[in-house]
C-alpha cells in the first residue's frame, strides 16, 4: 500500500494549484466568479480544459486523458482548497462520467468531446423533491412514445441545471410492471423542458427542472436498468467531493490556526488559551482521518471492483461528513463573530462544506447502508476489498 503521488501526479497537482491561484488567491475570486453568470469563471473552465483536467476521468478512446480516480482526487482537493466554484465533480466526474459509463459508442463520440473541451457543461438531474439520499427516481417517469421516449415530472435541486447545455436525467421506467431506473439525455432546448434557476446558500446555482412530455434519448440501450451504473458513477463523484471537502477543511483549519496566532484578546494572542488550541488539535485529527479515508476510497475506485467502490465511497462519506461538520462548526466558533460574516473567508468554507455534506447524502443515510450489512463480515480489511 502506497499513498505517495508519482512525479506526473505531483506536476498535475502543482499546475492546477498555480492556475487556480491566478483567480482564487483570496475569497474575492469566488465572490466575483459566483456573482455573474453562469456562476463560475468561464475563462478558468476553458483553461482547465486546455490543461486536460476536464478529460481526466475519461479514456483516451473516449477523447479523454486516460487518467483515473487519483488524478481526479488531487484536482478536486485543489478546487476545495480555494473554494473554486467550477463544477468539476458535478459536471465532469458525475454527469460526464454517466455518459462514459452508460452511453453507446455513438453517444460517447457525440457528447464527450464537448465535456472534455469545456464547451458542454453537463448536469445530472437526479434529486427529487422529498426523496431520501440514494433513493431511485420515483416522480420523474419515462414512457415510450412511438419510436422515442418522453419524460414527465420534476427534478430538484439540479446543480447548475439552468446553465447546463446537456442534461442527463434519471427516470422511473415501468418495465412489465416492475420499476427500473433509466438514464436519458435531454437537450437544453428540448420541447416541454422548463428550468427555473436560483442561488444556493453556498453561492452556486441550482434549478427546478420540469419535464412535460419532454423528448429524451435513452443513454445506452433503451430499457436497460441503470441503477448499478448510477451507483458506481455516483461513488466516483462522491469520492471526488470528499477530496474537495478535504481541501476545504485543510484551508478552514489553516485560516483558524492563523487567526489563533494573530488575533489578540486580553492583551495576548488567542493561541495562549489551551481551550482553543486543543480544539484546533481535534480539528486536525478529524482532517487527517478524513483524508486517509478519502485517499483509500480513491485507491479502491482505481482498483476497479464496482461493489467495493460503492462501499468504500460510503465509508468515505461517513467520515467526511462528520469531519466537515466538525471542522466547519469549530472554524467559525474559534474565529468568533468575524467567522459569521460574508466578508471574511472562513464562513464560506463552512457553507460549502455543509453543501458538500448534503450533496453527499449525509452521514446518517450512509451509516444506515453500512449498518444493514454489518453482519456479513468479521472485520474490515482495507487491503483486501
Amino acid at each position: 500500500m502506497d499513498f505517495e503521488l508519482d512525479d506526473e501526479q505531483t506536476a498535475l497537482r502543482d499546475a492546477v494549484r498555480r492556475l487556480l491561484a491566478s483567480t482564487y488567491a483570496t475569497i474575492d475570486g469566488r465572490r466575483a466568479s459566483t456573482a455573474k453568470a453562469p456562476g463560475w469563471d468561464e475563462g478558468m473552465w476553458g483553461r482547465l480544459a486546455e490543461m486536460g483536467v476536464l478529460g481526466l476521468p475519461f479514456t483516451e478512446e473516449d477523447g479523454g486523458m486516460g487518467a483515473g480516480p487519483v488524478e481526479v482526487a488531487l484536482v478536486a482537493e485543489q478546487l476545495g482548497r480555494v473554494l473554486a466554484p467550477e463544477p468539476f465533480a458535478e459536471a465532469v466526474v458525475l454527469a460526464g462520467g454517466l455518459v462514459a459509463a452508460a452511453g453507446s459508442a455513438a453517444q460517447k463520440e457525440q457528447l464527450l468531446p464537448g465535456v472534455v473541451d469545456g464547451t458542454t457543461v453537463a448536469a445530472f438531474a437526479h434529486f427529487e423533491p422529498g426523496a431520501a439520499a440514494g433513493a431511485p427516481p420515483r416522480s420523474v417517469t419515462a414512457t415510450q412514445d412511438g419510436d422515442g421516449w418522453v419524460l414527465d415530472g420534476v427534478k430538484e435541486p439540479v446543480l447548475h441545471g439552468a446553465q447546463a447545455g446537456l442534461l442527463v436525467v434519471s427516470a422511473r421506467v415501468d418495465a412489465d410492471g416492475t420499476d427500473r431506473t433509466g438514464l436519458f439525455v435531454v437537450a437544453a432546448d428540448a420541447a416541454g423542458l422548463d428550468r427555473v434557476d436560483y442561488p444556493t446558500y453556498d453561492g452556486t446555482r441550482a434549478a427546478r427542472v420540469t419535464f412535460a412530455s419532454t423528448p429524451a434519448t435513452p443513454l445506452g440501450a433503451a430499457g436497460a436498468n441503470a441503477s448499478d451504473v448510477v451507483a458506481l458513477v455516483t461513488a466516483h463523484a462522491q469520492v471526488a467531493l470528499c477530496h474537495e471537502a478535504v481541501g476545504a477543511m485543510a484551508t478552514a483549519l489553516d485560516l483558524t490556526t492563523e487567526y489563533l496566532r494573530t488575533r489578540k484578546q486580553f492583551g495576548v494572542p488567542l493561541k495562549t488559551f489551551q481551550a482553543l488550541t486543543f480544539r484546533a488539535a481535534d480539528m486536525y485529527v478529524s482532517l487527517e482521518l478524513a483524508r486517509s479515508m478519502a485517499l483509500w476510497a480513491t485507491l479502491v475506485l482505481a482498483d476497479g471492483d464496482p461493489d467495493a467502490a460503492v462501499v468504500a465511497a460510503t465509508r468515505a462519506v461517513v467520515q467526511t461528513s462528520a469531519a466537515g461538520r466538525h471542522i466547519g462548526q469549530e472554524a467559525i466558533q474559534l474565529h468568533g463573530g468575524i467567522g459569521m460574516t460574508a466578508e471574511y473567508a472562513v464562513g464560506h468554507y463552512t457553507t460549502r462544506l455543509t453543501a458538500i455534506d448534503q450533496l453527499l447524502g449525509g452521514r446518517t443515510a450512509h451509516l444506515r447502508v453500512l449498518a444493514d450489512h454489518v453482519g456479513e463480515y468479521d472485520v474490515v480489511d482495507p487491503l483486501a476489498v
Partner: protein, 384 residues
C-alpha cells in the same frame, strides 16, 4: 499510489498470520480473545516462542536480533499479532528499554542486557512517573547521588505496570538538582529490583485488579556501570523512548479483534438498527485510524516518529475505549455479575466487560495523556 500490498509484503503478511495462528498456543491466545488476565507465564512463554523465531524484537539493530524490516513490515507484524490475539512482547523490554540500551548503552551493557531482554530472562519495569511528576515528567524528584563507584538512590516511583513481576527497573533519576533547566539534571539508571532498600507496593485499581505499583527507593546502592549513556542526558533518552512508545500505542489490530468478537456475540441483535449502527460507525472510524497508521508508517523515516503519530495515540485510545464501552452496553445489567464464577448464567464475556471498560480508562492517560497529545499536535504540527 497503490492499494494492494506488493507481492513480497502480501507473502510476508501470510507468513506472519500463519506463524501467529499456529505457533502460539491456542490456550494463550484464547485468554486474549476472551479478555481474561494474562499470567506472567503466558507472557513469558509467548515472548520466548517469538524470540526463538526472530519475531520478538524485529525493530532492534540486526546484531541484537533485529530484522532490518521496512516500517510497513513492522506494522504488518504488529497488526497480525494483535489480530491473532497473540500477547505482544513485553513493551517495557522490547520497545522501551531495549532500544535505549541498543542506541545509547555501552558495549558491556548491550551484551549483558539485550539478549536477556529480548528473551524476557529479565522482566523490566518502568520507573518514570512519580506522585508529583505525571504529565510533567521532567519535574521528577527521585535523587541519585554519587558515592564512589555507586549512586545512592532515594525517592518514589509510581504507576509501575506489572512491577510485581519485575526483575529490573529502568528509571529516570535526578543527578543534578542545580541544573539550569529541570530537563538537564536527569539520568537514565538501570536498577536491580532485588537491591536492598527497594520495595514494591501494589496499587489496587477500580476494576479490582492489581496491575500497577508504587516502587520505593531507600538508600538503594546502584553501581555506576548501570548508568545508560551520559550522566544528566537521561531526558534525551527518555524522549527517544516515549517516541517509540507512541508509535506502538495505536492498538488498531487488537481493537479490531475485540470489535469482531463483540459482533459475533451480538449476532442476534444486529437487526436492532441502533446496535448495527454502532458497529458500522466504530468499524468505519477504526478503518480511518488504520489507514492513517499506514500513512504514518509510510512516512516514518530513520525511526523518527511522524508528528501525526500523536493522532494515532489520541484516536487509537479513544476508539479502544469506545469498543470497551460498546461491550458494556451489550452486557447490560448482567455485566454487574463480574465476581460470579464460571457456573454463572451470565456469559464470561459479559462478566469481564465492565472491569475491562474500567481498566481501559487508563489508555487515554498513559504514554502521554491525550491532553499531552493535543498539546503536541497544537504545538508541533499546527504551530500554536
Amino acid at each position: 499510489m497503490r492499494l494492494r500490498l506488493s507481492e513480497a509484503d502480501a507473502a510476508f503478511r501470510e507468513e506472519m498470520r500463519a506463524f501467529f495462528t499456529t505457533q502460539v498456543p491456542e490456550r494463550i491466545r484464547s485468554v486474549v480473545a476472551e479478555r481474561r488476565e494474562l499470567s506472567k507465564d503466558d507472557i513469558v512463554e509467548t515472548q520466548r516462542i517469538l524470540n526463538a523465531a526472530g519475531l520478538a524484537v524485529p525493530a532492534w539493530p540486526t546484531e541484537w536480533g533485529g530484522r532490518g524490516w521496512t516500517s510497513l513490515q513492522r506494522h504488518i507484524w504488529h497488526e497480525e499479532m494483535q489480530l491473532a490475539n497473540v500477547p505482544a512482547p513485553l513493551a517495557f523490554n522490547t520497545s522501551m528499554v531495549g532500544p535505549v540500551i541498543a542506541t545509547f548503552g555501552s558495549q558491556e551493557q548491550k551484551e549483558r542486557f539485550l539478549p536477556a531482554t529480548a528473551n524476557i530472562d529479565i522482566w523490566w519495569s518502568q520507573g518514570f512517573s512519580e506522585p508529583d511528576a505525571g504529565s510533567d515528567l521532567a519535574s521528577l524528584r527521585t535523587a541519585a547521588v554519587r558515592d564512589g563507584d555507586h549512586y545512592v538512590v532515594n525517592g518514589q516511583k509510581t504507576w509501575t505496570t506489572l512491577g510485581q513481576y519485575g526483575d529490573w527497573i529502568f528509571t529516570l533519576v535526578r543527578t543534578d538538582p542545580d541544573a539550569p533547566k529541570k530537563q538537564m539534571g536527569i539520568s537514565f539508571l538501570l536498577i536491580d529490583m532485588t537491591s536492598p532498600g527497594l520495595t514494591v507496593r501494589p496499587i489496587k485499581l477500580i476494576d479490582g485488579g492489581q496491575e500497577v505499583n508504587e516502587v520505593f527507593f531507600e538508600d538503594v546502592r546502584v553501581p555506576v556501570g548501570n548508568l545508560v549513556g551520559e550522566e544528566n542526558k537521561g531526558w534525551t533518552y527518555a524522549k527517544f523512548l516515549l517516541g517509540n512508545e507512541r508509535v506502538g500505542v495505536a492498538p488498531v489490530g487488537s481493537t479490531k479483534s475485540v470489535l469482531a468478537r463483540a459482533k459475533q456475540l451480538a449476532k442476534d441483535r444486529l437487526d436492532d438498527p441502533f446496535v448495527a449502527a454502532r458497529f458500522a460507525e466504530l468499524e468505519t472510524e477504526l478503518l480511518a485510524l488504520e489507514l492513517t497508521a499506514l500513512r504514518v508508517v509510510a512516512n516514518s523515516a530513520d525511526g523518527k516518529p511522524h508528528p501525526a503519530s500523536s493522532v494515532l495515540k489520541l484516536r487509537g485510545t479513544q476508539l479502544q475505549q469506545a469498543v470497551t464501552e460498546l461491550l458494556v452496553d451489550l452486557a447490560g445489567p448482567g455485566g454487574v455479575a463480574s465476581g460470579a464464577d464460571d457456573d454463572s448464567a451470565v456469559p464470561q464475556w459479559a462478566r469481564v466487560a465492565t472491569p475491562r471498560y474500567l481498566n481501559y480508562r487508563k489508555a487515554s492517560i498513559y504514554g502521554g495523556s491525550n491532553e499531552v497529545q493535543r498539546q503536541i499536535i497544537a504545538g508541533t504540527i499546527l504551530g500554536l
